[in-house]
């Protein structure tokens, strides 16, 4: 039996750092990933797609957002989509699933809202054992029932759960919605499909986090997201065959501690970012934490190369921090050896060297003075 394991679609997610255009593109791409998953299933000959939690980002999505993924799935009538609630879209009385149930779901979409074995594939005697989150956070292991859950002999028991594997990550988050590390073994599961972690992560041979199909943050652990898992079960006791498949379009990259001190540094940064996806820089999102000291000329170079040109090249260039202007008395010679402008520049330089918030401000003012001077020179020249 073959199926696709995916999770954490987080439909309806917004990105604070992104401008409106980028945001629209990112959101559209998340929906588009569903189509890619459907195509992947067809391509792989898988009849089922298991979506293990967090289809939606919010508990109360707008009507349009609510129906967007459902309608995408409806388009693949030949594929059976099995959904369970996640911590973002827990099955609360008036939650998303209740709303969808009221409005009716397509035949090929099944939302598992009660724990217990469910026969999903008669031919393969495959039974799904969903763990159902009724609230955002629970402190009990909802997969515990699987140990005792009865299925026909030789059934393929496939666990579906959304939560944190206890004792694996060690994060604080793992306190909520815990899943026993050895649940697959104890419950005799052929496969335990897990959701909640956005990067691919294999706990053991049968216990796997698929990660999100479209990356949604700069700091995703594990495989970094943007993929789905194609699982082939050859039998209840056989080890599942795992194949990771890229489904994401955007590449998210975080660059920490970029220190700029020279022209070379600036050009290196430019090259580094452009090399992330040389053939498609438009699908790259970069977050760079920038610092350093630049001379007057280098500062101008930084402005033109990074702030203007590179920003236009990538989908999103998010910069925190900025290089500081490193100007000396030599630089002030541009303003001549005397005169009012030079006097003003000297004054600002002295202020900026004093440091502090005022120094920062003086430095910025000085930087602008250089720019204006340069512009005037350019005009005069």
């Amino acid at each position: 039996m073959k199926f696709i394991h995916t999770s954490d679609w987080q439909i309806g997610r917004t990105f604070r750092f992104a401008d409106d255009d980028t945001l629209g593109a990112l959101q559209a791409e998340r929906l588009e990933a569903i189509r890619r998953l459907g195509l992947l299933a067809r391509q792989e000959g898988a009849a089922h797609v298991l979506v293990v939690g967090d289809v939606y980002e919010h508990e109360t999505p707008a009507e349009r957002t609510l129906h967007q993924p459902i309608e995408r799935m409806r388009d693949f009538a030949d594929i059976q989509w099995h959904l369970i609630p996640g911590n973002h879209d827990a099955d609360q009385p008036e939650g998303v699933w209740a709303r969808l149930a009221r409005s009716g779901l397509p035949e090929n979409v099944t939302v598992h809202r009660e724990p217990g074995p469910v026969l999903i594939d008669t031919a393969h005697n495959a039974w799904a054992l969903p763990a159902v989150l009724k609230r955002r956070h629970v402190l009990t292991d909802l997969t515990a029932y699987m140990d005792e859950a009865e299925t026909p002999p030789d059934a393929l028991r496939i666990g579906l759960a959304h939560g944190s594997v206890v004792g694996f990550g060690g994060e604080v988050e793992s306190e909520h919605n815990p899943v026993a590390l050895d649940r697959a073994k104890r419950a005799g599961l052929a496969y335990l499909a897990l959701g909640d972690w956005h990067g691919f992560c294999q706990i053991d041979a049968r216990t796997i986090y698929s990660g999100t199909p479209e990356t949604d943050r700069f700091t995703t652990g594990g495989g970094g997201g943007g993929e789905a898992v194609v699982v082939t079960l050859h039998g209840p006791r056989a080890e599942p065959e795992i194949k990771r498949h890229r489904t994401g379009r955007y590449t998210w990259k975080k660059l920490d501690d970029v220190v700029l001190t020279s022209e070379q540094d600036i050009l290196a940064l430019d090259a580094r970012i452009r090399s992330i996806a040389p053939d498609n820089p438009g699908a790259v999102l970069v977050w760079a934490a920038v610092s350093g000291l630049l001379s007057v000329d280098d500062m101008a170079l930084y402005e033109s190369t990074i702030l203007k040109r590179l920003s236009g090249a990538v989908a999103c260039l998010r910069l925190t921090g900025a290089p500081q202007l490193s100007a000396g008395l030599d630089d002030l010679d541009r303003f001549g050896s005397g005169g009012a402008v030079r006097a003003a520049a000297e004054h600002l330089l002295a202020q900026s060297e004093a440091g502090g918030a005022e120094g920062q401000l003086a430095s910025e003012a000085l930087q602008r003075l250089f720019l204006f001077w340069q512009e005037m020179g350019a005009q005069a020249g």
Partner: protein, 930 residues
């Protein structure tokens, strides 16, 4: 630089060539009437110095004469000892520029370039150069305003000024940067108030809006969550309420309780009835006992009352007796009091009678005295009248005797006078001759005689002798003597006297009579008690009054006497009768009977009597007082006794009434039911009560183990209430669930979470934007501030020499004034006593200042050893003669350093300026230098 020659042709009104004659160093004055071409001359000078010959701009075309042509100017000047020449022709195809500087020679653009370098001009536009020179060639009307320097002009000035300061100022660059900074800054904040504007303002507003929107969304989200929680709660509560098992159990319990209640109610009613019966019997028995007790009590009371009444009766009798005695004593005391009062009255009457008698006696004595007085007065009066009668008989009074005496004296005097003149006759007769000699018939006396008249002496025997006195005026004297004698005789006659001696005697008598009259009168006056020595009439009146008074007194006395006798006789007799002696009584009663002999004695007696009567009266009064006192005491005692008696009677009556009442009540009771019957009934009732009590105790003992009915009923009520509440609660919960569901349905479709995320994103982006704008704004503001400060500092540094240059000329025209310049080289204010703004000064002053400033610029150029001249066209037209004089001084002084051309239409006014006179002279053609 000194202009030495200027020739123009084809320039506006000068179609034909003209030359400005007389140019030389120092002050040059062209005084010519209006429309002589002064302004054209200046325009030509400006054109040749500052406009490219190749220019085809409108200002150049405007230079053409009316008929058209190619403006052509040639100017010669000396510069640094070199002879120089500049020539330009405009517009035509032959337009050219030629500049000869000493030995150097330039043509075309080269010439233009060299000229600009020489004059320090810069390209203002394609065709025109500009600089400080435009401020030095001052056209008509331009002198009213301060020179409006363009950037080049300012730069020129700056370069002049920077010459004197340590560093190049770069003022122009600073201005340019500053204007850029401000352009950018003012996109973010307003120029005036520094408030955010443009995109920054928009971003701030949007951020606030976004925050508000976010807040609103979060509120709605909170409301939704609250709804969801409440919905969950309500649903659970509803399930609980609707549990059918619980309901059935509740109802069964309720039924059991109701049955128990019914049973308890029956038992309760039974017990109630038994208790009621017991209560009735007890009540009857109690009332019977009460009745018996009451009867007994009444009887005792009746007896007691009777005893008390008897005692009171006895007391009352004693009291009545005492009252009667008191009354009797009271009556007696009253009688005594009346008697005493009568006696007092009698004594008082007697006293009064005696007193009246005494009064009568006193009056009578007074009357006697009055009578005596009258008698005396009347006697005196009689004597007076007699004296007066005697006096009246004596006629010779003072006046008469004086007349007599006078008449005697006059007669004597007349006789004497006669005698003096009379003849003396002395006769001495023998004794034998006596009788024989007769004189005038009478025996002749012996001795000397005086003969006043003819006297006849007869001597017996001898004959008769007639002697006639030879007296002068004998007759008059004689007559006088006669008259005197007659007078005397007349007087005497009137006095009734024979002679003067008689008269004297009579007079003496009269005097004595008068004395007697006076004595009598004095006596009469003395006799009158009231009169003084007044007129006789008054005295007689007094006498008459006296007489009248007396008669009145007598009459009054008579009346008094009569009245007294009528009034007092009986009392007096009565009072005195018993005790006083008869004589006294008589005396008192009939005082007149005794006569005056016994008056004194009577009075003494009366005094004694009066004294006695007074004592008796006082005695009687004391007795009466005492009697009254006694009466009052007795009366009080009587009243008290009476009071006591009344009270005792009342009390007795009350007791009797009470006793009778009790008696009646007892009788009625007995009539209704006899005492024996009552006792029998009481015994029966006691038995019945014992039975009833036993019954109640039995019932009570039977119910001790049962639950109290009230508890059971409360429980039932509580159960029923709970059931009812559950029903209501279910309805309410359903209602609430429905309501909440509706709200949730409405809200959930909105996608609040998404909206919140979106709004948060927008808000944070806008916040970043605002922060960016603010950083930008702050940096620009700081830059603006810093640059402005630097420029100001620099400007102040290089303005100092300009101010220094201008100051002497200013001090000449405006003594004591100091000036202020702004960075644009304008004079912004003048401080004389107080600071004055340039714009508020008078036209004349402003023009003078404008000229002085231009003069200063020229001074600066000159000091820097740059070419400088000043041309003024029709300037100083608003100046008064004194200022004009001062300005002339300044101009003349400046002209010692550089050349000044003054073009004026006011030849007379400017005649005092002196200088070289210039004139325009037509020439055949412009002298070209090749």
């Amino acid at each position: 630089m000194i202009l030495t020659d200027l020739q123009i042709e084809g320039f506006r009104r000068f179609a034909s060539p003209v030359r400005l004659d007389g140019l030389g160093p120092g002050l040059n004055v062209l005084a010519a009437p209006n429309e002589a071409g002064k302004s054209t001359l200046l325009a030509a000078l400006k054109a040749v110095l500052m406009v490219r010959s190749s220019s085809k701009a409108k200002p150049v075309k405007d230079l053409q004469p009316y008929g058209g042509g190619a403006p052509h100017v040639a100017v010669s000047f000396t510069w640094k000892g070199m002879d120089c020449h500049l020539e330009k022709q405009f517009i035509s195809s032959k337009a050219f520029t030629r500049l000869i500087l000493g030995t150097e020679r330039f043509e075309g653009d080269q010439a233009e370039e060299a000229l600009r370098n020489l004059l320090g001009l810069e390209e203002a536009s394609k065709s025109e150069a500009a600089g400080l020179w435009s401020a030095l060639l001052v056209g008509q009307g331009e002198s009213f305003a301060q020179p409006d320097l363009n950037q080049t002009g300012q730069d020129s000035l700056r370069s002049c000024l920077e010459h004197g300061v340590d560093h190049a100022t770069g003022g122009a660059a600073a201005s340019a940067v500053l204007s850029r900074v401000r352009d950018r800054l003012h996109l973010l904040q307003t120029a005036k108030s520094g408030q955010p504007t443009g995109k920054y303002k928009q971003a701030l507003e949007q951020e606030a809006q976004a925050q508000a929107c976010l807040q609103d969304l979060q509120n709605r989200r909170a409301a939704l969550e609250e709804d969801l929680a409440a919905l969950d709660q309500a649903r659970r509560a509803l399930r609980e309420q609707e549990n059918p098992e619980r309901k059935a159990q509740d109802e069964a319990e309720l039924l059991a309780l109701r049955q128990l209640r019914d049973k308890l109610r029956v038992a309760d009613a039974e017990e109630q009835a038994a208790r009621a019966a017991l209560a009735t019997v007890t009540h009857t028995r109690n009332s019977l006992c009460d009745e018996q007790e009451r009867r007994q009590e009444r009887r005792e009371t009746q007896r007691k009352l009777e005893r008390e009444a008897a005692e009171m009766q006895h007391d009352l009798q004693a009291l009545t007796q005492r009252t009667a005695q008191a009354r009797q004593r009271y009556e007696e005391s009253r009688t005594q009091r009346e008697q005493a009062e009568q006696q007092q009255q009698a004594a008082r009457q007697a006293l009064l009678a005696v007193s009246r008698r005494v009064t009568v006696l006193q009056q009578r004595a007074a009357l006697d005295r009055s009578k005596q007085t009258l008698h005396r007065a009347e006697a005196a009066c009689t004597r007076l009248e007699q004296a007066r009668a005697v006096l009246a008989a004596l006629l010779v009074d003072e006046g008469l005797i004086r007349r007599v005496r006078k008449a005697v004296r006059e007669q004597d005097a007349a006789q004497a006078a006669l005698n003096a003149r009379a003849t003396r006759l002395t006769v001495t007769l023998q004794p034998e001759a006596a009788g024989r000699v007769l004189l005038d018939g009478a025996a002749c006396p012996q001795g000397e005689m005086v003969l006043t008249q003819a006297a006849d002496v007869q001597v017996e025997g001898i004959g008769q002798f007639r002697i006639t006195p030879a007296v002068k005026d004998h007759d008059e004297a004689l007559a006088a003597a006669d008259t005197a004698r007659q007078q005397l005789q007349s007087v005497l006659h009137s006095a009734g006297c024979q002679s003067a001696e008689d008269a004297e005697t009579l007079f003496e008598e009269r005097r004595q009579a008068e004395t007697r009259v006076a004595e009598a009168r004095a006596a009469f006056v003395a006799s009158l008690p009231t009169a003084r020595d007044e007129r006789d009439a008054t005295l007689f009146e007094a006498l008459a009054t006296l007489r009248q008074d007396l008669s009145d007194q007598v009459a009054a006395l008579e009346r008094e006497q009569a009245a007294f006798e009528q009034d007092c006789q009986p009392e007096l007799a009565g009072v005195l009768g018993g005790r006083a002696d008869q004589a006294a009584t008589e005396t008192v009663c009939n005082p007149e009977a005794e006569g005056g002999v016994q008056t004194d004695q009577t009075e003494a007696t009366l005094q004694a009597l009066q004294q006695k009567a007074r004592q008796e009266e006082e005695q009687a009064a004391r007795v009466a007082d005492k009697a009254r006192q006694t009466e009052r005491t007795e009366q009080a005692a009587y009243n008290a006794a009476q009071n006591l008696q009344d009270k005792a009677e009342t009390a007795l009556r009350q007791k009797q009434t009470e006793r009778d009442q009790l008696g009646r009540e007892l009788a009625v009771s007995a009539a209704r039911e006899s005492d024996d019957a009552l006792a029998a009934r009481a015994a029966e009732t006691a038995q019945a009560q014992a039975q009833a009590e036993a019954h109640v105790q039995a019932l009570k003992a039977g119910r001790e183990t049962e639950q109290p009915l009230s508890v059971v009923e409360t429980r039932i009520m509580r159960r029923e209430q709970a059931l009812e509440n559950a029903r209501t609660s279910i309805a309410r919960l359903r209602e609430e669930i429905k309501e909440r569901e509706t709200r949730v349905r409405v809200a959930e479709g909105d996608g609040l979470d998404e909206k919140i995320a979106e709004a948060g994103r927008t808000a944070s982006r806008l916040k970043l934007d605002c922060e960016g704008y603010e950083r930008e704004r702050a940096a620009l503001a700081l830059l603006d501030q810093t640059l402005s400060d630097a420029e100001k500092t620099q400007t102040e540094r290089y303005l100092a020499p300009l101010v220094r240059t201008l100051q002497p000329a200013f001090s000449t025209v405006f003594p004591g004034a100091s000036l202020e310049m702004d960075t644009g080289f304008g004079l912004c204010g003048l401080t004389r006593r107080t600071a004055e703004e340039f714009g508020k000064l008078s036209d004349g002053t402003r023009e003078q200042i404008a000229v002085l400033v231009r003069l200063g610029f020229a001074e600066l150029l000159h000091a820097r050893q740059s070419p400088a001249i000043l041309v003024l066209d029709d300037a100083l037209s608003f100046s008064d003669s004194q200022r004009l004089e001062l300005m002339f001084d300044v101009l003349a002084d400046a002209a010692t350093r550089f050349q000044i051309l003054v073009l004026t239409c006011r030849a007379e006014a400017f005649a005092r300026l002196g200088g070289r006179p210039l004139s325009l002279r037509p020439i055949p053609q412009i002298t070209e230098r090749r």
